[in-house]
Each structure stands twice: as structure tokens, then as C-alpha cells.
């Protein structure tokens, strides 16, 4: 406030002393003149009787009363002025650092208005990826619009596959805008640049253009027709078994849960269900999404989606359900295969890295899952006397003690099965099943920026799954910096090079492109075949 008050005070302070004011009433008539002089007198009196400080105070009070409308405006102006100054200062300081050019400036300019609008910190450190300028550059220069279009459209020429597809925007003020649709990717791009959503989601293809849904005579005629089957794996669902991080935080240790999940789900979708076009996407913070894009998958109804979800779901029940893996024996091919995949992960990623049964109350959970009472007692005694014994040793103890014959009634088969169930409980993918069950569920688009972390939701190449590191995924500010740093390679380079090719986003876009090309190729074959079949049918008639 000192900024806003002082110029105001100056102005009013001058008024009574101004000759103009005193003179003006004289022109109008006597009565007014006397009134005015009276005011001036009174103020003069105040000035005399009280100290300077109190006078200032009085004056401002009066101002508020008299000129209430003007005050905030002035205050605002001053604030803006001061902000500009601040910015310049920062720009000066930063620009000679290792961050070159406009990029650093971008961050600073927009971070200041951000601060008052949301008192709760959003978790991003330093740079704010949701800033409009950063986001605008990203959408303008880096987002692979054409590939996204081809991915959803399944052919180069615009069709209803894209045109009737729902997009939903989350705007900067957290308003949620549903039922957006666009005939081409250019129009989508234009609208995204206009609205600058912090992220956008992709929904199903509808029977009619989602924008026209209200013009239909019957609302039931507006129905979702097709959407990729999606799977959502989120590390928060692992909170009861991961020991390294919790909630929104992740590290490379717990990312292994996602790696295992992708392996298990991917192979089941390919081998069992015969799907070919499965796109895995990093969700930007602590999870991954799968988009199954095969034509057959896209047109499945909710019941069949539920069937796939149920087929893949092995861990059932909430925190209170006790034993959560109850699979039939002999193990179904899918479960047996998953177990085979997960076994090695269990040894390294769970027993060694997570060390889930370190303390007393933690190994109690393990004992609950084992069937033999006598054996459990022996194990409990052993482990309580050696606090802090590593989970790897504890896991080995089970078999060792069982072999030593502590328990006469031990059922070796039951123990083995219980151990298999434990491996599954600690490693088997935990899917957010609701996402997969419904045709009209919306899911964040690939390549958008996660508003919290600033990381781009890049596709994950399952061939290099083990080397994927979520913490290495480029953030939007990194990428914009990379564009600026990029210099054309020496020699003759005439071909126009796209901005994304200058950055570390390149391998991801290229992978996405090859994925889309593969999808479109299959789609084309199907179309030709179907046309032939239709013709054949027509001949028969």
C-alpha cells in the first residue's frame, strides 16, 4: 500500500493549497465561495492543531470517502508499474547466466501474476509450466499436432473419426470444458492456442458432432461409438506396499512397479486378445496410460471392456479385505505367465529395493498371508529376535524353516501357493479399472504437459522399457531452452527442420510417428477388405 497511498496523498494535499480551487467559486457566486473558504479554513485548523502524521492519515480517510471510485484504479496502476520494474531487474540478473535469451524472461514475467492468484503452492519448483507464454510456445512449436490428428483419424483425409471425437479442456482457471470437437488438427491447434488449456483430454467418437449434441431432437441419439481401450496405472495405488515414496512422489525404485505392470499387461493384450497397436504413455507424474488402438478394440462396448478389465484384474478388494489375491489352481495361462515375468522383479525390485517387511508390524502383514500357524510362530520368534533383518533373508527363511520341519502339519503345496500369491500381491499390476470399463471415459492426451511437474506426457517405447526413466523425461522449459540452444549442424543444410527435431522430444515424436504409421497401414488394409466384402454381399443379393 505505501506505493498507492503516497501519490494520492500528494494530489489531495495540494488541493487546498491550489489557487485554482480558491478562485473557481468566486466566478460562480458568493455563497459557494464562502463555503469553500470555510473548508479550507477547517483544514488549515486541523493542520495546525495536530501533528503532521495524523494529518496525513486524516486526509487519506477523507479521500476514500470522497473519491472512492478512483482509488483502486490508481493503486492498480502503481502495482503494475512496480511489477514491470521488478521484471526488468530480474531479466538483467538472469540473462548473463547460463540461461540464454527470452526463455528465462518468459518464466519470470508470468510467475509474478501467478503468485497472488493461487495461495496454495502447486508443487512445481521454480518455473511454472502452466504459464501461458511457455505453454503457448510449446503448443506452437513442439506439440506434434499432425501425428495426433493421424493417430485419431486413422487416415490422412479428415473423417468423422476425428471430427466427432470429443476433446475436453482444463483451462488455466480450472474450468473444465467438455464436448469440444474439431474437423481438423489445425482448428484444434488454433483453439488450444486461443484457450491455452493447462491440459486437454481425449474422449470417444460420438454418433454426431459433439458440438451439435443439443440440436438433436432426442438426446438419446447422442451416444459414444468408439474409443481406444485405455488402462491407467498409478503409483498411488501402490502406497500400501511401496516404502520409498508416497503420494505424488516417485523415484526410480517405485517406477519399477510401473515397468512390471506394463510388461504384464502388454503381453496379455497382445498374445491373449490379439491386439497389435498398443501405445503406452507416461502420465507426466507417477503413472502410465495405455491406449489400445486396434479397430476392434475401439468399437467394443462397455460389457466387453469390463470383460478385459476383469480378465486382467488379479488383486481384488480394499485395505480391509485381508488376502487380496485369490486365484484358482492350476494357474490360468495369463496368471502363470505373469508370475513368470514378475518373479525376477520380486527378488530385486521388491525384496531388495523396497524391503517391505523390515519392521515388526510390517512383517506381521506377511505372516497373515502364510497358511501354517506353527511355521508362522517360528518365523515370528526368529524375526523378532533379529530386528531389521532384510526382507530378502526373511523370504528365504520361510523355505528354510519349512524344510527344517518345524511344523508337522505343514502342507508344502499350500505354502507354495501362498508364496505365489504373495509375489502376485506385491508385483501384479494395480489398474484403475474404471478407466478401462467405460467407453466414454476421458483420458489425458499424449504429449500434453503435466501441470504439476511440467513434464511432457511422452509415449513409452516398450522395446526400451527398462531404460525408461520418468525423471529424465524432458520438461517443457527444458525443451524450449533446447530449441534456443540448437544450432544448425555445420555444412549444407537446406531442408527445413522442425522445432521438435531440435530437442530431446525428438525420439518420442519419432516413436509416436512410427506407431501412427503402423496403425494407419492396418486401418487402410481393413478398409479395402471391408469394401470388398460389402461388394461381395451386394452381389449376392
Amino acid at each position: 500500500m505505501p506505493h498507492s497511498v503516497s501519490p494520492e496523498n500528494m494530489a489531495t494535499h495540494e488541493q487546498p493549497q491550489d489557487d485554482m480551487v480558491a478562485e473557481a467559486p468566486a466566478e460562480n457566486g458568493e455563497t459557494q465561495a464562502s463555503e469553500n473558504t470555510f473548508v479550507a479554513d477547517a483544514e488549515a485548523e486541523v493542520e495546525n492543531t495536530q501533528g503532521d502524521e495524523t494529518m496525513d492519515h486524516d486526509m487519506t480517510m477523507e479521500d476514500v470517502g470522497v473519491q472512492g471510485d478512483i482509488v483502486p484504479e490508481v493503486a492498480l496502476k502503481v502495482e503494475i508499474k512496480s511489477e514491470v520494474r521488478l521484471e526488468d531487474l530480474f531479466a538483467d540478473v538472469e540473462s548473463d547466466e547460463e540461461f540464454p535469451s527470452s526463455n528465462a524472461l518468459n518464466i519470470k514475467t508470468s510467475s509474478s501474476p501467478e503468485a497472488p492468484s493461487s495461495p496454495v503452492p502447486t508443487g512445481g519448483s521454480g518455473s511454472k509450466p502452466s504459464d501461458s507464454d511457455v505453454m503457448r510456445s510449446f503448443y506452437q512449436r513442439l506439440f506434434p499436432w499432425r501425428h495426433l490428428f493421424q493417430w485419431l483419424n486413422h487416415s490422412p483425409t479428415p473423417s468423422t473419426d476425428f471430427g466427432h471425437r470429443e476433446f475436453a479442456f482444463t483451462l488455466q482457471n480450472d474450468a473444465y470444458l467438455r464436448y469440444q470437437s474439431f474437423p481438423t488438427s489445425d482448428l484444434l491447434r488454433k483453439d488450444v492456442l486461443r484457450l491455452m488449456p493447462s491440459r486437454f483430454e481425449i474422449g470417444p467418437v460420438y454418433t454426431t458432432n459433439p458440438r451439435d449434441r443439443k440440436t438433436l431432437r432426442k438426446s438419446s441419439a447422442f451416444k459414444p461409438l468408439a474409443k481406444e481401450i485405455c488402462f491407467d496405472i498409478d503409483l498411488t495405488d501402490y502406497d500400501d506396499i511401496r516404502t520409498c515414496c508416497d503420494r505424488a512422489n516417485i523415484c526410480n525404485k517405485c517406477w519399477q512397479f510401473i515397468t512390471m505392470a506394463i510388461k504384464v499387461i502388454d503381453v496379455a493384450l497382445r498374445d491373449d486378445f490379439g491386439f497389435k497397436h498398443i501405445l503406452w504413455v507416461y502420465s507426466g507424474r507417477r503413472g502410465a496410460h495405455a491406449w489400445v488402438c486396434d479397430k476392434k478394440a475401439r468399437h467394443l462396448d462397455d460389457q466387453k471392456r469390463r470383460a478385459i478389465a476383469g480378465y486382467l484384474e488379479v488383486i481384488k478388494g480394499g485395505a480391509q479385505s485381508g488376502k487380496r489375491v485369490n486365484v484358482k489352481r492350476p494357474l490360468h495361462t495369463h496368471v502363470a505367465r505373469s508370475l513368470e515375468v514378475l518373479k525376477s522383479h520380486f527378488q530385486t525390485d521388491i525384496l531388495h529395493d523396497q524391503d517391505p517387511w523390515e519392521t515388526d508390524e510390517k512383517f506381521d502383514r506377511l505372516l497373515q498371508l502364510l497358511p501354517d500357524k506353527t511355521l508362522n510362530e517360528a518365523l515370528r520368534k526368529k524375526w523378532s529376535s533379529a530386528p531389521g533383518r532384510a526382507s530378502t533373508s526373511k523370504w528365504a527363511d520361510i523355505d528354510a524353516l519349512a524344510k527344517s520341519g518345524v511344523s508337522k502339519t505343514l502342507d508344502a503345496k499350500a505354502l507354495l501357493e501362498a508364496k505365489q500369491d504373495i509375489v502376485l500381491e506385491y508385483t501384479y499390476p494395480r489398474l484403475d479399472i474404471e478407466v478401462s470399463k467405460h467407453l466414454n471415459h476421458l483420458l489425458k492426451s499424449p504429449f500434453v504437459v503435466h501441470p504439476g511437474t511440467g513434464r511432457v506426457c511422452v509415449p513409452i517405447n516398450t522395446k526400451d522399457l527398462n531404460s525408461f526413466d520418468p525423471l529424465e523425461v524432458p520438461t517443457v522449459t527444458d525443451l524450449l531452452g533446447e530449441i534456443d540452444e540448437w544450432t544448425a549442424p555445420e555444412g549444407e543444410e537446406v531442408k527445413a527442420i522442425q522445432d521438435w527435431e531440435k530437442t530431446s522430444l525428438k525420439p518420442y515424436v519419432e516413436y509416436f510417428r512410427s506407431f501412427v504409421v503402423g496403425l494407419m497401414k492396418d486401418e487402410k488394409d481393413v478398409k479395402v477388405k471391408r469394401e470388398r466384402e460389402e461388394n461381395g454381399d451386394a452381389m449376392e443379393f
Binding site: V120, G274, F275, L300, A307, G310, G317, G318, S321, T333
Partner: protein, 507 residues
């Protein structure tokens, strides 16, 4: 005169006529000969029946279907259901096998055929009715299919000409292990079972429960699972037909003879617990407010007590927990403002901003304060019944909704019961047995009776409450209401007359 007669076409037959050909052609299948006992209901009936028959047949079929639905609500096993349904089916909708030599064979089958199509008309109007109708019709079909004579069943299935590919012997041997694993270790020798393969999406229920072997999009279905495939086929055909019927309904060229009957039929197809309207839940003199929920929670059923405890412990509930609990609170008479106050004060670890952004809308949606037109008009959703809680959305990791009797392990359930004050060993053992037999509502009622032993005895002795008011509880809100009334019998000034009248309204 003559011309008039010629141009007049029975509206019922109009669709069946080939307008280009002979205009006065008799419908080709006016009197269908029913070869099989079972019917896929592909061909609509075209013969004439009287209005009385129309109504009577429909009502008879409806009786059977309603009873069947009730069986599924009570969680009866297939065997129990079959035993329970047999006398009812024999009375209202008998269907003899072809070999029985019964003289009424064709009439029985005609009645079955016609009544199905009448009810189809009555239940095609709304999505909800269609879904329920298709569900119970499929159940009826399954029941009959199982009861059918083996040879006749085979003939029927062959008559359907569904394209199923038989698995060759070589292939069967190659995947012997996988096939056996999918069948739960059965058959011991792979030669004992025949398999056929179909696209997996034709047997979604087998896939969902991992009862078939899947390979490259094909499901290897064992012969004994034929039932499930035929039923799936039946359901999908029926669903499609219902959809078409509903589209044709507005164009139903009908006078006022059939429409009233059809409306009447669909209105009578309501289940005892499907609609729990808030109008009959009013508890005079009760202080239903946000700050009183803690006190009231003593009268909550275990599922809601569990949600309440989880909420107090974590200061948070996940989506379905909030949904189940909000609806229940709405059902006991907590208004929207109080409910928002309740959730806001319960989620005490988050800021106002977060609450307003992420949770307020959902609570308002539940009350029908926001959302689509139909949601607002219907005042939001109705509170979940036990049936819904038991069968839909089982709780996942970190979720507290659902029915503790069903979704908890015996150990955790016992611990929870002891925590809420049920310490009697006899009762706990009873609950455990109920749980093992999957009679979850019996367990809940057992606990209710234990917790209100004295009060129930009193009202029974006084004769203030009749048998109807003490029958099995199948709705959490009913549990609360009854519990609250019993616990506050002495204190409540408006006791006796007014209250018992209130309770009677539900039947």
C-alpha cells in the same frame, strides 16, 4: 363400401405385408409351429389373441420374472433359485418338453412366446427397464436351458446355426495344459472334452472370470460352457431387439386398448428396494444435521459405520465411498447445505479452495443440485440399496465403501464388529457362517437383531410393530430408520400411531 373394405389393413399386420406384392397376403407365420421348447424369440407373433389373454399372459410372465429377480436380490445360489422357482413356473408359465406328449404343448409354447413379446413392448420404453428386463429374461432362459432335456437342448442349439469353429485334435493336444488350467484342472484327460473356438468378445463373461484359454483373440470354449455362450447370444439378441422396439414405440399405431395395459405392467415391475424415496424416511423430531452425524452414526448399518470411521480416521474418503455415504446421508434426511458442511468439516486436511474445486460439485450432483436435466429433475440419485452395494463396484485398494460382510475378510470383519460393540461370540459365529454361505444381508440383520434385542422384544410384545415392519432389511436407510425409531421409542413424542403408519407406507 367395397373399396373401403379393401383399403383397410389390420394395423397389426401392416409391417408384415409385402407392399409391392400381394397386398392381402396372410402373414406367413400366423400359426407358428413351435418345434423346440426353448425359444430365442426371433419371430414376433402375428396371430390374434383376445385382450383378456393379452393381459393375463403378460401378468403371469411378470409374476415369474419378478420372483426370479427377487431370488437374485437374495443372493440365492442357482440350485436354490431353481428349487424356489419350480412351483411358480409350473403354475404360471409351464413349458413341457417335446417328449412329454402333453396335449397343451403348443398352447404353452404360444403363451410363452406371446407373453414375452407383450412384456417386451411394456419394458422397452426406458433404458433402466430394458436392462432389467433383459437381465431377468436371460435368467429365465438360463434356468430353462439347464432344465432342458439333453437331446432336445442339442437340437435347439443346432437349430440356431451359430458359427462356432471346432478345435482340431492336434490343436487341442498342443494347448492341453492351458486348456486344463483355464478349466480349473478339468478335464483330467484332454480327450474327454470337446472345444470350439470363437472370437473372445462373444463370451465376455467367460473371459472376465478367466474361465477360458485365450490365444490371439480367440477364446477356446469347452463344450460344457455352451450354456454361457448360448445365454450370451440370447442376451445380445434380446438387447438389440429391445433397442429396436423402443425406437418403434412412438410409432406404435395403437388406440387406447393396449397402451394402458402396457403402462400398468411396466409400473408394476418395481422391486421392493429399488425405490427408496426420501418422502417416507422423515423421522419426526430427529436432529439430522452435520454436527449430529457422529451421534446418529450409532444407528448406522455396518457399511456406513465403516465409512464413517474411515472418514474420521483419514479425514478423507475415495470417490465411491463419498458417493455411497453422501447418498445414505441424503436418505436419512440430511439436506444439501448440511451435507456440504459435513463433508467440508470432515475433510479437515485440505483447504477451502481444494474442497470447492474437487468435492463440492460431486456432493451437489448427488443431491441433483447440478448436472444434466434428468439428474436435476430426479433430485439426484437415490440412496444405494444393499443389492447395489453388494454387486456393484467392489472396493479396491484404499477404498472403504462396499459391504463389510461381503468385502472384508472374516478376521477384519470380526475386528470391526467388536469395535462397534458386537462382542457376543454366538452372534459373531453366526455372522461368520452367514458370510461363508454368502448370505450377507442375513449377517447384517443378525447384527441388527442383536443390537436391538430388547427393543424388538418390546415392540413385538406390545404389538405396536407387526411382522411387516420387522421383516428382513434390504436397504441401509431402512436399517437406520428402524434402528433410530427403536432406540428412541421412549423419547420420541410422536410414537405409536403416526410412526407405524409411516413404516407401513413402504410396502
Amino acid at each position: 363400401m367395397i373399396r373401403q373394405e379393401f383399403s383397410r389393413i389390420d394395423p397389426k399386420r401392416r409391417a408384415a405385408l409385402n407392399h409391392r406384392g400381394k397386398q392381402f397376403e396372410k402373414p406367413a407365420y400366423q400359426n407358428v409351429e413351435y418345434k423346440h421348447r426353448l425359444n430365442f424369440y426371433i419371430t414376433p407373433p402375428t396371430a390374434d389373441i383376445t385382450l383378456e389373454q393379452f393381459e393375463q399372459w403378460a401378468i403371469d410372465r411378470l409374476r415369474v420374472l419378478a420372483e426370479l429377480e427377487a431370488c437374485s436380490f437374495r443372493n440365492k445360489t442357482p440350485a436354490e433359485t431353481a428349487a424356489h422357482m419350480k412351483p411358480i413356473i409350473d403354475k404360471y408359465l409351464p413349458l413341457s418338453s417335446s417328449t412329454s406328449g402333453s396335449t397343451a404343448l403348443q398352447t404353452e409354447r404360444q403363451k410363452d412366446h406371446y407373453s414375452h413379446f407383450i412384456l417386451r413392448l411394456a419394458f422397452a420404453s426406458t433404458e433402466d427397464l430394458r436392462r432389467r428386463f433383459s437381465r431377468v429374461e436371460s435368467m429365465l432362459f438360463r434356468l430353462r436351458f439347464q432344465a432342458d432335456d439333453l437331446r432336445e437342448r442339442q437340437a435347439f442349439v443346432e437349430g440356431l446355426s451359430l458359427d462356432w469353429e471346432t478345435v482340431s485334435d492336434d490343436e487341442r493336444r498342443e494347448y492341453a495344459e492351458d486348456l486344463r488350467a483355464a478349466g480349473g484342472g478339468y478335464p483330467k484327460r484332454i480327450e474327454e472334452e470337446s472345444y470350439f473356438k470363437v472370437d473372445w468378445d462373444r463370451v465376455p463373461e467367460l473371459v472376465e472370470s478367466r474361465r477360458v484359454f485365450l490365444k490371439a483373440g480367440k477364446a477356446y470354449v469347452p463344450g460344457r460352457e455352451q450354456l454361457s455362450m448360448v445365454v450370451a447370444e440370447f442376451t445380445s439378441k434380446l438387447d438389440k431387439a429391445l433397442e429396436l422396439t423402443s425406437r418403434a414405440l412412438p410409432r406404435l399405431d395403437e388406440d387406447d386398448r393396449l397402451t394402458p395395459i402396457l403402462t400398468h405392467l411396466s409400473q408394476n415391475f418395481t422391486t421392493p428396494d429399488a425405490n427408496y424415496s426420501s418422502s417416507n424416511t422423515a423421522l419426526p423430531g430427529a436432529d439430522i444435521s452435520a454436527r449430529n452425524v457422529d451421534a446418529l452414526s450409532a444407528s448406522f448399518p455396518l457399511c456406513m459405520q465403516n465409512l464413517h470411521r474411515s472418514l474420521r480416521r483419514d479425514s478423507h474418503l475415495k470417490h465411491y465411498g463419498r458417493l455411497q455415504y453422501s447418498l445414505f446421508l441424503k436418505g436419512i434426511g440430511l439436506n444439501l447445505e448440511e451435507c456440504l458442511v459435513f463433508w467440508r468439516s470432515s475433510f479437515n486436511k485440505i483447504t477451502d479452495d481444494v474442497f470447492n474445486k474437487e468435492y463440492r460439485y460431486n456432493v451437489r450432483h448427488v443431491y441433483g443440485d447440478v448436472g444434466g436435466d434428468s439428474n436435476r429433475r430426479g433430485n439426484g440419485y437415490s440412496p444405494f440399496s444393499c443389492q447395489k452395494i453388494l454387486t456393484e463396484h467392489p472396493p479396491g485398494p484404499g477404498e472403504a465403501h462396499g459391504c463389510p460382510y461381503r468385502h472384508f475378510s472374516v478376521r477384519n470383519l470380526t475386528a470391526l464388529l467388536q469395535n462397534v460393540g458386537v462382542k457376543d461370540q454366538e452372534v459373531l459365529r453366526g455372522v461368520k457362517e452367514d458370510k461363508e454361505k454368502q448370505k450377507f444381508h442375513l449377517a447384517c440383520n443378525r447384527v441388527f437383531e442383536y443390537a436391538h434385542k430388547q427393543e424388538i422384544k418390546k415392540v413385538r410384545d406390545d404389538g405396536t410393530w407387526g411382522a411387516a415392519q420387522l421383516e428382513t432389511i434390504v436397504h441401509p436407510n431402512e436399517y437406520f430408520k428402524r434402528s433410530y425409531l427403536l432406540k428412541n421409542m421412549g423419547k420420541n413424542p410422536i410414537d405409536g400411531e403416526g410412526k407405524s403408519g409411516d413404516v407401513k407406507m413402504e410396502d
